[in-house]
């Protein structure tokens, strides 16, 4: 099978909307970093490199990803395990791995590798999927989750869990199994609470429901974030004018809490505008998933775009106080090369899967 070399696999809707969010993100970052141009420039380089990476990856044939999926998954797993041994400990967590001059969060690759691997594993299974295959899939998901959760990085681990479960669900998991699993989760949740959550993670969940109980400790971030967003009002305080942001009352303005900066300085109108772009990106992914050429592509597009949605929604829920504080950046906007490049990587794959069509219909 051959394809014309002249053809460029490109989705203008996704490409330009993502590029637009990234450019807006650079402006937000400029304000959130107290006008630190060095940070913005570095992030800008990542954005440009990322857009090219996305374009490049989207040229690859979908079956290429299917062929390498198991090697890709094993490589990611190896990096995670490597991180546990050689990764530097930062704030009590080992999340980073350094290879040569490049250091990145190894779990970022995992977020992509797992859904592709599961999609490849499940895409030729007959409906309904047999119990044995379901169990294998669940085992892989659980193992992946635990590997990341013990770093500890509950936020990313949850995303990985979601990414696996999304693929499993989309691939045709039987409804009776879903019902049974849901019931089991509800029953076992108290054990999960005490077994898997670190004390600081439990503290964060407790704080969510009553942030004022600990206004200067764990509750501080949530309280200050809500004040920042709430005081933005309808039109916001203006670019670079947010007192919560500029006077450092808001924590982590460049990373997890950058949405609060946007809410404070651009108000409800700015928030609506930004969220509508995100919504547009998701709708386009939904469209591509429904119109993809085969089951594998459908599962990968669905899995990756829903993982992106989970990432986005968890960050938003966290900064407005609907979820406990878990480390989770705002996609395409928060500072950080690893998460940005992995997002471009994921969307490159989505575009590849969405734009490649089979030449020989059966």
């Amino acid at each position: 099978m051959s394809k014309p070399l002249s053809k460029l696999y490109f989705d203008p809707y996704l490409f330009f909307s993502i590029a637009f969010v990234c450019i807006l993100g650079l402006f937000f970052l400029y304000s959130a970093s107290n006008t630190d141009l060095a940070i913005v420039t570095k992030q800008g380089v990542y954005v440009v490199v990322g857009l090219f990476l996305m374009l490049l990856i989207s040229q690859a044939e979908p079956d290429f990803f299917r062929r390498i999926s198991i090697r890709f998954y094993l490589l990611s797993t190896a990096l995670i395990i490597l991180t546990a041994f050689i990764g530097p400990e930062i704030n009590g967590a080992q999340r980073w791995v350094r290879i040569g001059y490049i250091s990145f969060q190894s779990s970022e690759l995992f977020k992509i590798a797992l859904p592709i691997f599961l999609a490849a594993f499940l895409c030729d299974k007959k409906l309904p999927i047999r119990g044995r295959d379901v169990l294998i899939t669940l085992f892989i998901i659980a193992a992946s989750f635990l590997l990341v959760a013990r770093q500890p990085d509950l936020g990313t681990a949850l995303i990985i869990l979601f990414s696996g479960v999304f693929v499993l669900f989309l691939s045709g998991l039987s409804w009776s199994f879903i019902g049974a699993a849901f019931a089991a989760f509800i029953i076992s949740s108290p054990f999960l609470w005490s077994l898997f959550l670190q004390p600081f993670q439990r503290q964060r969940i407790a704080t969510l429901f009553n942030p004022e109980s600990d206004p200067f400790g764990a509750g501080w971030n949530i309280i200050q974030s809500k004040i920042a967003i709430g005081s933005g009002g309808l039109f916001g305080k203006g670019f670079g004018m947010g007192s919560q942001t500029q006077l450092n009352f808001l924590p982590e303005t460049k990373t997890d809490f950058i949405f609060s900066v946007i809410g404070e300085e651009f108000g409800f109108v700015g928030v609506l505008f930004l969220l509508s772009i995100y919504l547009f990106i998701l709708m386009r992914c939904f469209y591509l998933a429904l119109n993809a050429r085969d089951r594998f592509c459908r599962l990968v597009i669905g899995g990756l775009s829903l993982t992106f949605a989970a990432n986005l929604l968890i960050n938003l829920s966290m900064v407005i106080g609907l979820l406990p504080v878990v480390g989770m950046p705002l996609p395409f906007i928060s500072r950080g090369g690893s998460s940005l490049l992995s997002l471009f990587f994921a969307f490159g794959i989505i575009i590849s899967m969405g734009t490649h069509k089979k030449f020989l219909p059966q």
């Binding site: 005081s231 007192s243 009352f249 939904f286 459908r298 669905g302 949605a309």
Partner: protein
């Protein structure tokens, strides 16, 4: 896979994708609702919270009003001192900085250590740091010529509250000291911001503790201003957003008289006692002096713990304000009041006389009450009894009196209640009466108790303030103003007119004549005072017994211990016949009212009248 199977799989995928994307849409909607509630519904609440985060309000201290005497002499003022103040955030190297200052202004080890200890913290918060307090004129001059070299340092003016006469007016004016008490004009400023206040006094917030400083504290202190600063999350001060200037406190113009007060202090010397003098026209207190005294400047501007302890434990009790708190038997000075009671009740008239053998025998139990002169004064009427201070006459009169009626009568003269309108912590003492004795001592009243009250002993007690008030009432013939240190406006002045109609103008004139004779005639107990002045004075002397004795010989035995000696008392007013000032003097263990307390009263009157 066959085509149908593929189609089935695709439909299955579509249904499930719709379910998941719909869930995403629902969460999206929840987030939007939440953001709407934060930014639109609860906007005002969060806007206020954001302002409270960054706005840091601090008080700006107001300058306290000054206190003057009736001639405009400053009694308490605000004296500027100059402090060397650094702005640590502009200093690069604290060690080099200190070395550079030391070239022009010597710093003690404590000052250097203090600077180094606070330097980093103050620098990070953008706050000022006082390096050295109370610079000398030379130090200020040396700094000023080199100030161009120090952009991180300046000289700040701070005040100290000082009196030119720190000991003379200690009890009348009282003192101020550091305060943290909640202050009404600062109620909207959180308490933990107080340490960052802009102080105008070198010792921070001050508050009147005693005397006029306490009584008129809110009048003197003014209204503190407010500055709103912008701070960041670390508490660093960034800029001033709003400034409400303070309102300087009002000055207090008192009726005190510097010269008369000086005279009282000089005349009392090292002796313990109290002097109060009043202006009969206004009720203003011209002299309020208690001896021994202490320095209010020291108390207001820092006293070591040892020095304070020493003052507190001094057996002569310098803090004790004898003028308004000292409880002394009025002794014979009460006799004019007792005499007037007899007249009012019709028990005696001016002609009524008794034979004074030098003692009085209580008919009930045969107990003997002695006079001061062995052998007595012979035949005495009221006028003579006042002149020579016959105890027997007043024993006899008191014996015939109903104690409840006599109590009411003494109350009209101001005994048993606070006399002064604005004195600090005045002791009202109590009115001797059967009810009082039953309640407080759980004992019934004896006729002998009444007989003692008749000569101002026993349960009769008064402060120098009450005695001066009593003297002014006698001088003004029952018409008097409530004494006060700060003259009240005409409307507020509490004019009191004694409502007892049983006194005729004749009785009052007779009383004035009798009391003038105490000093001006050759027989009076105050006759030695006659030559000390060039105007006529009315007076009544008293000698308060501390130990109850039967004879003069017994007294000679106990007077070896100074603390057992009688108190010398006098109430006086003049110039007669139209008196303008009244005065009372009590000298503890002074023994003779006429000889010891008398000259003090005369000199104070002279100082007031001859001005």
């Amino acid at each position: 896979m066959i085509f149908e199977e593929r189609q089935l799989e695709k439909n299955n995928f579509t249904v499930r994708a719709i379910i998941l994307f719909a869930m995403v849409a629902i969460v999206f909607a929840m987030i939007l609702v939440r953001v709407f509630s934060l930014q639109i519904s609860s906007y005002t609440e969060y806007e206020l919270a954001a302002l409270n985060n960054k706005n840091y309000s601090v008080p700006v201290q107001a300058l306290r009003g000054e206190i003057y005497d009736r001639n405009g002499n400053a009694l308490v003022s605000n004296n500027p001192t100059f402090d060397l103040i650094a702005e640590p955030h502009l200093i690069e190297d604290p060690i080099i900085f200190l070395a550079k200052i030391s070239e022009i202004i010597a710093l003690s080890n404590i000052e250097q250590a203090n600077f180094l200890k606070l330097y980093l913290q103050k620098a990070s918060l953008n706050k000022e740091l006082v390096i050295k307090k109370s610079l000398t004129q030379q130090e200020i001059a040396r700094f000023k010529v080199r100030s161009f070299a120090f952009n991180n340092m300046f000289i700040g003016k701070r005040y100290r509250r000082v009196s030119k006469h720190p000991e003379l007016f200690a009890h009348a004016l009282g003192y101020t000291s550091r305060s943290d008490a909640t202050n009404q004009s600062l109620s909207d400023i959180p308490k933990n911001h107080w340490r960052d206040a802009e102080f105008i006094y070198a010792n921070g917030f001050i508050e009147g503790r005693t005397g006029l400083e306490e009584t008129y504290n809110s009048f003197l202190q003014g209204v503190h201003g407010k500055r709103i600063l912008e701070i960041n999350a670390k508490g660093r001060l960034l800029q001033s957003l709003n400034f409400t200037p303070p309102l300087r406190g009002s000055d207090l113009h008192t009726s005190l008289d510097l010269d008369a007060q000086k005279t009282a202090a000089k005349m009392l010397g090292a002796r313990k006692g109290g002097v109060v003098a009043m202006d009969l026209v206004t009720g203003g207190i011209n002299v309020l002096f208690s001896s021994p005294t202490y320095s209010i400047n020291k108390l207001a501007n820092g006293l070591s713990v040892d020095e304070f302890k020493e003052l507190l434990e001094d057996i002569n009790k310098p803090f004790f304000n004898r003028a308004v708190q000292g409880r002394y038997p009025p002794a014979s000075t009460i006799k004019p009041a007792i005499g007037m009671f007899g007249l009012a009740q019709g028990l005696i008239d001016w002609k009524y006389s008794i034979d004074d053998p030098g003692y009085f025998v209580l008919p009930d139990d045969g107990r003997v009450y002695r006079g001061w002169k062995k052998g007595g004064h012979g035949n005495v009427n009221l006028q003579k009894a006042l002149l020579i201070s016959s105890n027997t006459y007043f024993f006899t009169l008191a014996y015939r009196s109903d104690m409840s009626d006599l109590s009411d009568h003494l109350s009209k003269f101001g005994f048993g209640k606070k006399a002064c309108l604005d004195c600090f912590d005045e002791d009202p003492i109590f009115l001797p009466s059967p009810d009082w004795k039953l309640t407080n001592l759980n004992a019934s009243w004896f006729t002998g108790d009444t007989v003692n009250v008749g000569v101002g002993q026993g349960f009769a007690l008064a402060t120098p303030m009450q005695l001066a008030n009593y003297a002014s009432l006698l001088a003004n013939k029952g018409r008097f103003f409530k004494p006060s240190l700060v003259p009240f406006s005409q409307d507020d002045q509490q004019l009191q007119i004694w409502e007892d109609q049983n006194f005729s103008a004749f009785d009052w004139n007779q009383m004035h004549t009798a009391l003038t004779d105490v000093v001006e005639s050759d027989l009076g107990t105050g006759r030695r005072l006659k030559s000390l002045k060039n105007f006529k004075v009315a007076a009544k002397t008293g000698t308060a017994e501390l130990v109850s004795l039967d004879s003069k010989e017994a007294y000679e035995d106990v007077r070896g211990n100074i603390a057992n000696r009688d108190h010398a008392i006098i109430v006086a007013f003049g110039p007669m016949p139209n008196p303008r000032y009244a005065v009372s003097v009590v000298i503890e263990n002074g023994e003779s009212g006429g000889v010891v307390a008398g000259p003090v009263a005369i000199e104070v009157l002279k100082s007031l009248i001859n001005e």
